[in-house]
Amino acid sequence: MMDRYQVQRFGFILLGLVAVIVVAPILIVIAAIAVRGIGAIDWQFLTAMPRDGMRAGGIFPAIVGTLWLTLGTALVAIPIGVGGAVYLAEYARDTVLTRAIRLAIINLAGVPSVVYGLFGLGLFVLFLQLGTSIVAGSLTLAIMTLPIIISTTEEALRAVPTEFRTVSASLGGTRWQGIRRIVLPQAMPGIITGVILGLLRAAGETAPILFTVAAFFLPRLPQSPFDQTMALPYHLYVISTQVPGMPPENQYGTALVLLAVVLSLNVVATLIRSSYRRRREW
């Protein structure tokens, strides 16, 4: 018979093991893709057009396409998201309407990514006749990203002490002046972290761009925002399921590039947040 302290020691070890079971596969995923993909990556792979039905050449148009989409998402999602968060944190009182906004945000965050794709197809591609284009894809991704940007920005704004606002008001500043000159700058690192987290999610998503922007194979760069484009996540999906005889190292190479983009943004966001936590004076 174990006494209860032995039970406790045994239990704690078990919990630690579970934590290892949870975390180890994450490292395995990253390591496996890195080891198998690194060989495919050279200057040509990153900067050349795909050739031979995508079996050879590079992934340059997919990289450029993802950059365009992410930029377009940022242009739409940042003003709406930050504005919405400013309203919730600085203006909204606890009314039924405010509660409805919060419910809407929670639900936006829960809408399946493929449903965003359907919505983008219905509204932007067909109804507004933007066609399958970077614009339609960016708008779809932007709406998907909003809940992340709104909730992280609101949190950052709320973390700024109330005294900062009262002092600004006592010096004769209006509410908006206080927000623009004091609260927003103070909350900026938190806002940037949230924006990066939202954008990296957008950069990695496939389902929302399936029917709104993605071109299966388009060995040229997009000429305008109304062009179709290839994109990294969709390209990975295509070459891993739709192209027979695809060399595996190119698949892993593409996965590695996508993973590297997303994880490095993730690290940047984490660094900004932690250095800000250490540095802030309140």
Binding site: Q8, V18, L88, G110, V111, V114, T206, Y234, L259
Partner: protein
């Protein structure tokens, strides 16, 4: 000269006030944008999906056979496929998630926490298509060999991947719930002579119960809507998962069906409308799930339970 400066100043002030009025109006509109977008999504899903119910007989629509080319639009295998994969995923993820949350919050020394937390955030950041690709090329062969199934692309493989994808959500919500349990509960239990282990499982976790339920709901919502990873690893056979070994056979979810077939259908066709109809079902499912989760959180907040 002086008088002029004064009027200039006044003019500037009144213009500033106007600008401020406009800015605040814009912010107010942006604040409500989330409601607008949810409504828009619902309207456009209805617009394209509602015709389904006039074009396809209900008996067909909720039948057991999904062969769109023959006009058979039985969504039951897809709905059950989603259910099978999702429920299995949560059954795997719940114990792992709660145990990890307990470990991180209650047991782990500071440095371990500093490693675990960012790792779990990294998991949340990995694109689902990358996880799906990994699952297809490396997990599926492993499943095939270790379980001796004819193919590694099974409902179980999908559930395994989904379990890991919903872990970050479950862990972070469960952590918040544990965090919200008042210190006095722990102190009380320890004062009665309970060990830390007893305190955790008999006092702290039961007190955080409703938070854990929220975690499960949100994890469920995340899992049922997952598309790319599931599509790449479940084998996508639209069969009724009614036999005991269904878990070890290919399955097909609602999300994967929409993603795989939408690109090939003619706009405005019956098939097109049915796919939007499936989107509508998915939207309403996640809506109800998230609403339920949110309401439990709001209730808690009102009673002063959280924070």
């Amino acid at each position: 000269m002086d008088e002029n400066a004064l009027t200039n100043g006044q003019r500037r002030q009144s213009r500033a006030r106007q600008v401020e009025f406009v800015i605040e109006a814009v912010i107010r509109v942006l604040g409500f944008s989330a409601i607008g977008f949810v409504t828009l999504i619902f309207i456009f899903l209805l617009r394209e999906g509602l015709p389904t119910f006039f074009e396809v007989r209900l008996g067909n629509l909720f039948g057991t056979q999904w062969y769109p080319t023959f006009g058979l639009f039985g969504t039951l295998p897809l709905i059950l496929g989603s259910l099978l994969v999702t429920v299995t995923a949560i059954a795997i993820a719940l114990p792992l998630g709660v145990a990890t949350a307990v470990f991180v919050r209650e047991v782990a020394p500071g440095w371990t926490r500093e490693i675990l937390k960012p790792m779990i955030e990294v998991l949340a950041g990995i694109p689902s298509v990358v996880l799906g690709f990994f699952g297809m090329t490396l997990v599926a062969p492993f499943v095939r060999e270790s379980l001796g199934t004819p193919t590694g692309l099974t409902a179980f493989t999908g559930a395994l991947l989904l379990a890991y994808m919903s872990l970050p959500t479950i862990i972070s919500v469960a952590e918040d719930a544990l965090d919200a349990v008042p210190k006095s509960y722990r102190d009380g239990a320890r004062a009665m002579g309970a060990t830390e282990w007893q305190t955790i499982w008999r006092v702290v976790v039961p007190a955080a119960r409703s938070g854990v339920v929220t975690a499960v709901m949100l994890g469920l919502g995340r899992a049922i809507g997952e598309t790319m990873a599931v599509m790449l690893v479940t084998g996508n056979a639209a069969r009724m998962p009614v036999t005991l070994d269904s878990l070890l056979r290919p399955a097909r979810t609602m999300t994967a069906t929409v993603a795989a077939e939408m690109g090939e259908v003619a706009q405005g066709s019956v098939h097109y409308h049915v796919l939007f109809g499936i989107g509508l079902i998915l939207f309403m499912l996640t809506f109800v799930i998230n609403l339920t989760a949110a309401v439990t959180v709001f209730e808690k907040k009102r009673r002063g339970g959280l924070r």
